[in-house]
């Protein structure tokens, strides 16, 4: 089943064209990567998929909802079904880790406090944080912890779909590999479909099933990593060239 369908999407900022007719499809259970040189609009596309940004033309369908003419209520339902991890975590700085994770549960469900605490503890454990960290504020956490905390928050409502914006950037290599392993484990355990933007070559090879490479306003390649070098693109040559020797 296709969870995300991007058809002929165009994005224009002022008089600068960012996307000129993008097409891609994300199927259920995939870990899907958006790659490309910096400034090519990967993050912009991700933001368009999660309703943070309008696009100028074309159509994006996420979990069966067409985003270009989505209603307020539908948008709200859609938002309950995905989780988003931002590049720097974007934890609410006025709340502790526990409160950050619990927020959606408190707002959207009628679970008892005890139940919520249990779920939160489970999610904290799931992403590899310690129970003692629960009462820390974001300012008291390290970069890696913030990412894990952001992931725990994104997973709070058990989403089907997870968006990750540069999940390993700014992490040291060991933490980055741990994070990759975590993502793979979560996909297996929770049956997630994951869409991520990444620059980390190791992480790309370790985790991704399928990639879309955006170059020069268009999709230069979409498919598995094995055949990526078959596509003609300067970016692909320089980015994947050496490692495939």
């Amino acid at each position: 089943m296709d969870l995300i369908k991007v058809r002929n999407v165009q994005t224009v900022f002022g008089n600068k064209i960012i996307h000129d007719g993008l097409n891609l499809t994300v199927s259920e259970g995939e870990i899907y990567g958006l790659l490309g040189p910096s400034g090519c609009g990967k993050t912009t596309l991700l933001r368009e998929m999660v309703l943070l940004q309008h696009f100028s033309g074309g159509s994006i369908e996420v979990l069966g909802y067409k985003l270009e003419n989505i209603k307020r209520k539908e948008a709200q339902q859609l938002r309950h079904q995905w989780g988003v991890l931002f590049q720097f975590g974007a934890l609410f700085s006025s709340l502790t880790l526990k409160e950050n994770i619990a927020l959606s549960l408190v707002e959207y469900t009628d679970l008892s406090k005890k139940m919520i605490d249990e779920i939160v503890a489970f999610k904290i454990n799931l992403v590899g944080l310690k129970p003692d960290d629960a009462s820390l504020y974001p300012s008291e956490m390290s970069g890696g912890m913030r990412k894990k905390a952001g992931l725990a928050r994104a997973l709070a409502m058990d989403p089907k779909l997870l968006f990750l914006d540069e999940p390993t950037s700014g992490l040291d290599p060991i933490s980055a590999r741990e994070f990759d392993a975590l993502i793979l484990k979560l996909r297996e355990m929770l049956g997630l479909t994951i869409v991520m933007v990444s620059h980390d070559l190791q992480s790309i090879y370790d985790t991704l099933d399928k990639v879309a490479i955006i170059d020069n306003k268009k999709i230069a390649y979409e498919g598995t990593l094995k055949e990526v070098t078959s596509a003609k693109s300067k970016f692909i040559e320089t980015f994947f060239g050496e490692s495939n020797e």
Binding site: L52, A75, R79, F88, A90, F92, Y108
Partner: protein, 372 residues
Amino acid sequence: MSEKLLITLQDDQLLVKFSQELTLTTITSAQTKIEKYKTKIFDKVVLDGTNISYLDSAGALFLYDLQQYFKNHNISVSLLLQESKQKQTFAFVEENCRNAKVPFLEKKSSFLEEIGKLFYSNYRGFLSFLYFFGQLIVTHLDAFVSLRRLRFKEIAFEINESALKALGIIALTSFLIGVVVAYQSAYQLKMYGANIYIVDMLGLSILRELSPLITAIIIAGRSGSAYAAQIGAMKITQEIDAMETMGFDPFAFLVLPRIIALIVMMPILIFVSDIMAMLGGMIIAHTDLNISMQLFLDRFNEVIAAKHFFVGIVKGPFFAFLIASIGIYRGLMVKDDTQSIGFNTTKSVVESIFAVIICDAVFSIAFTNLGI
């Protein structure tokens, strides 16, 4: 060697002999010297760099530019360099210049263009404020349709944070304003022996105008700016984006509680300010004009109608709405850089005080025409 640059003009040949270093620090003096000779007539130039001890990329660029200049004026140029390393430097610079010789075009814009741009950006700013306003009203309506959606916990938090914690400073400032106004007028009134009229003066000016304005200005400077900075910082750390993707409407979570908190608390703050300012005036009346507290209060009761008090209080919610919405709007306008937090915080204070004063003027005219 004292002379770094030797220039000799023989017949139709100009010989420029460089020596020592030709680097960032020395090219300017060389340039001024050569500049003088550029007006003279010659058709052959020799740039002799054989004695250069060190050539950096700026020096090489300088040589390259000279070479190009003479070439463009149909003067044959020959450049002599000795060391291979310097030749390499020059070749490197030459190659890069040839590949990327796109002069930085300083975009000159005409006066009209500037005005047009300014007008357009202001127009866009105005539209975005209207957009903000529209969204605010929709959320307001939404919230009041079902009161359950109002976030009472956040409102209570904001009431404490932006109003109750401001009580001290408002009380102190108002007290001092009362003292100052009374002190100034006491001197004038004493000359006419019209001591008792201090009560009328203070009562009218403080209750109707001074207290609401002082309170509004303090709240704008204290809480309005805090709103802009808090929300601006949340925007930079993507917290607002995160809220949106989680389905939490920032308007319901961040905007409404702050606006409602201020609207509820502003009249109370003005009331406190009234009390403190009158107290200050009363003390001065007692010490300076020998009007006892009892006499002051009796006179106050007699001449100051309750409507004057209500005129001041009624302004409160309007001022509060302006301050809170401008502060929040400015916070949401913050872009992805730290500079814009400062810019927008400043703007929020300036604009909200300005808006409050305009609003006050409108009220003044309206109340006067209504005979209140």
